[in-house]
Amino acid sequence: MDFLQLIISGLANGCVYGLIALGFVLIYKATEAVNFAQGDFMMLGAFVCIGFTNHEYMGLNFWLAVPLSILVMGAFGYLFNWGILRHMFGQSQTSIVILTIAMGFIIRFFAGATWSHEPTSLETPYAGQELRPGGLVLGVDEVLIVVVTAILTLVFYLFFSRTRIGLAMQAASQNQLAAYYMGIPVKRIHSLVWGLSGMVAAVAGVLFASKGAIDPSTGLLGIKAFAAAAIGGFGSLPGALLGGLIIGLVEPLAARYGPPGVSQIAPYAILLLILIFRPGGIFSQTQRKKV
C-alpha cells in the first residue's frame, strides 16, 4: 500500500514535469528553438493565477481565474516571441539558448518583486479533498493533474498530426525556407506556438501550485523537465510525458529505498546514461545529416 501511494504521488509529480516538458517540446518541435525558461514560464503562470485567486491579492473566483491566467500566459508567450525572438530570426540556436536563460533570470526577479519570495500556495476549492477508492488515499489535486496531463498530451498529439495549422508548424520546423515558399507565415506560426506553450505552462503552474507551495526559484524545476524531454526524445510529445513520468517515479522511489542523496542525482544520472547509450532518447527522432 505504501508502495502504491509512493507511485501515485510520483505519477502526479511526473505529470507536472511532463507538462513543462510538453511546453518545451512544443516550441522545439515547431521552431527548433529551445526555451530554457520554460520552468520559469510555469512559475510565472502559477503566480499569475495566485495573483488572481488568492484573497490577499485580487480574490477572484478560482474557475474564472484559471482561464484568465491561461489567457494571460498565452498572450505573454505570443508577445515574448513577437517582441524579442522575432528579431533574432535567422541567428544561431546558441544565442537563443543564452537569451532564454537570461529571460529566466528576469522572470524570476519579476515574480519575486511583484508577488513574493516566500513559498505561496494557490487557494483552490478542491484543496484537501480526497478520494478513497479501495483503501488508497488520493488527493483530488493529484488525480486532477494526471487527468489533465493525459488529456492535454492527447489533444496536442492530434493537433500536430491532424490539423492544418499543426502540420504547418511541423513544416515550418522541417525546413523554414521551403515552408515560406509554400505560403506558410513562418514567423506568425512561431509566435502562435510560443503562445500555446505559454498556455501549457500556465496549466502546469496552476496544477503545481494547487498541490504544493511555489516560490520564484521553483522555475529551476524546468531543468528536470529538460531531462524529461531528453529522456523521452526531443521533439516527441508522448516522449516528453513518458520522460516526465520516469523522473517523477524514480525520485520518490530512490528517496525511499536508495541511499541518501541519490534521489537528487537520479534524474540527471538517468539523463546522462540515456544520452550516452541512446542519445536520441527513448522515442528517438534524430538522424545524422549526410553530406
Partner: protein, 368 residues
C-alpha cells in the same frame, strides 16, 4: 586608411596584420606588466586582487570561447571543469607533487574528464551538449559532497600555497607575485590560442561553427574535431579552476555552481562571441558589474535616502544587459569596437550593413 597587401600565403596567417598592430599589442603588454607599480605606489593591493580575479575569469572564458565562440558548441557546465581542475590541483599539491607539475596536470585531467563525458553527446546536435553539460553542472555539488575524502565535502577544502622553485606565492601575502603568475598563464594561453586559430585544426573549428555539412564535405572528421575542441576548452577551464582555488583560498561544494557556469557563458556573449578579446572584455564587465551595483546602491542610499534591497537584482540586471546585447549587438563589446574602428578607418564610406551576417534558415535533423 591602411592597405595591407598580402604577397604570400604566410602573410595571410601572420600573428599581427601589420607593424602598427604589433606595436599596440606591445604597448598593452607593457601596460599590464606595469600595472602593479601603481598599486605599489598607493600601497594598497586590494584592487590588484580584483584584477587578478578578472584575469582568472578571462582564462576560463577563453576556454569556453574556443568551444562556443569558435566551434559553435554551447556548454553550460564549464564550472564543473573548473571544479575538477581545482580539486585535482589541491590533491596533487597535498600529495607533495610540485606545483609546476600539478598545475598543468590538473588542467589536462579536467580536459580528459570533460572529453570523456562529452564524447557520446558530441555526435548529436548542440542542444544535447547544452543539456548534458547542464545536468553535469547541477550534479557537481552533489558529487563534491560524495567525494568527501578528496574534496572535504560540505566543510570545504583549504587550498595550499604555491611553491614555485622555492618562491612562496599566496594571494594575500604576496599579491604581486600572484598577479604576475596569473598574467603569465593568461598570456601563454592567449599565445597558444592565437596560434591554434591559424593551424588547420583551429580553422576546422571555425568551419564546423559556420556549417557542419560544409565542414564534413571538406573532409573534416566532425566528432574528432569537436572532441579536440572540447578537450582544449575543458583544459583551459581546469587551469582557471586551479588558479581560482588559489585565489579563493578555500573552496566548498557551492563554489563552482550552476550560476558560475552560466556567468561564464553570459560573459563571453557580452564580450563578443568568436573573438579572443571577447573573453577579456566579458571578464572585465563581469568583474565590474557587482562593484557598480554596490556603489550605485550606496549612492542612492546616501544621496536620496532610497534603499534598494531586492534579492536577485544582480542576476536580473546582468540578464537584462545580456538580452540587450543579444538583441542589439550580437557581436558583443568587441564587435562594437570593431564597428567603431571600421567607421573611422573607412570614413566617410562606412555603411550600416557592413557587418551584417547572412540569415540562416533552419532545417530540422529529426524525422517526422
Amino acid at each position: 586608411m591602411r592597405y595591407v597587401f598580402k604577397t604570400s600565403y604566410d602573410a595571410d596567417i601572420r600573428l599581427f596584420k601589420h607593424r602598427a598592430q604589433a606595436v599596440w599589442y606591445g604597448l598593452l603588454l607593457l601596460l599590464v606588466l606595469a600595472t602593479p607599480l601603481y598599486f605599489v605606489a598607493i600601497g594598497d593591493a586590494y584592487l590588484l586582487g580584483e584584477i587578478t580575479g578578472v584575469l582568472i575569469l578571462a582564462i576560463a572564458g577563453m576556454g569556453l570561447m574556443l568551444l562556443t565562440g569558435h566551434t559553435g558548441l554551447p556548454s553550460l557546465g564549464h564550472a564543473t571543469f573548473m571544479a575538477m581542475g581545482c580539486y585535482v590541483n589541491i590533491n596533487l599539491l597535498g600529495a607533495g607533487v610540485p606545483w609546476v607539475v600539478a598545475f598543468p596536470l590538473s588542467g589536462l585531467i579536467a580536459g580528459a574528464f570533460g572529453t570523456l563525458i562529452a564524447l557520446p553527446v558530441l555526435r548529436l546536435h548542440g542542444v544535447y551538449l547544452a543539456l548534458a553539460t547542464l545536468a553535469m553542472s547541477i550534479l557537481t555539488s552533489d558529487f563534491v559532497v560524495m567525494a568527501e575524502p578528496w574534496t572535504g565535502g560540505i566543510a570545504g577544502a583549504a587550498v595550499p600555497d604555491i611553491n614555485l622553485f622555492g618562491i612562496e606565492i599566496n594571494r594575500y601575502a604576496t599579491p604581486y607575485k600572484f598577479y604576475y603568475l596569473v598574467l603569465f598563464v593568461a598570456i601563454l594561453l592567449v599565445w597558444f590560442y592565437r596560434n591554434l586559430l591559424r593551424t588547420p585544426t583551429g580553422r576546422s573549428f571555425t568551419a564546423i561553427r559556420d556549417s557542419e555539412i560544409s565542414a564534413r564535405a571538406m573532409g573534416i572528421n566532425l566528432t574528432r574535431t569537436k572532441a579536440t575542441s572540447f578537450f582544449l576548452s575543458a583544459t583551459a577551464a581546469g587551469l582557471a579552476g586551479a588558479l581560482f582555488g588559489h585565489s579563493a583560498g578555500y573552496v566548498t561544494n557551492e563554489t563552482f555552481d550552476l550560476v558560475m557556469s552560466i556567468t561564464l557563458l553570459l560573459m563571453i556573449v557580452i564580450g563578443g562571441l568568436g573573438f579572443i578579446h571577447g573573453a577579456f572584455f566579458g571578464a572585465i564587465v563581469v568583474g565590474i558589474i557587482p562593484v557598480a551595483i554596490a556603489n550605485g546602491r550606496s549612492f542612492l542610499a546616501t544621496t536620496f535616502d532610497v534603499n534598494i534591497n531586492v534579492p536577485g537584482l544582480e542576476s536580473a540586471l546582468f540578464a537584462f544587459i545580456l538580452v540587450c546585447f543579444i538583441l542589439f549587438e550580437p557581436m558583443g563589446l568587441y564587435g562594437r569596437w570593431l564597428k567603431i574602428r571600421t567607421y573611422f578607418e573607412l570614413f566617410p564610406f562606412y555603411r550600416k550593413d557592413m557587418f551584417k551576417r547572412q540569415k540562416s534558415y533552419l532545417k530540422t535533423d529529426r524525422i517526422q
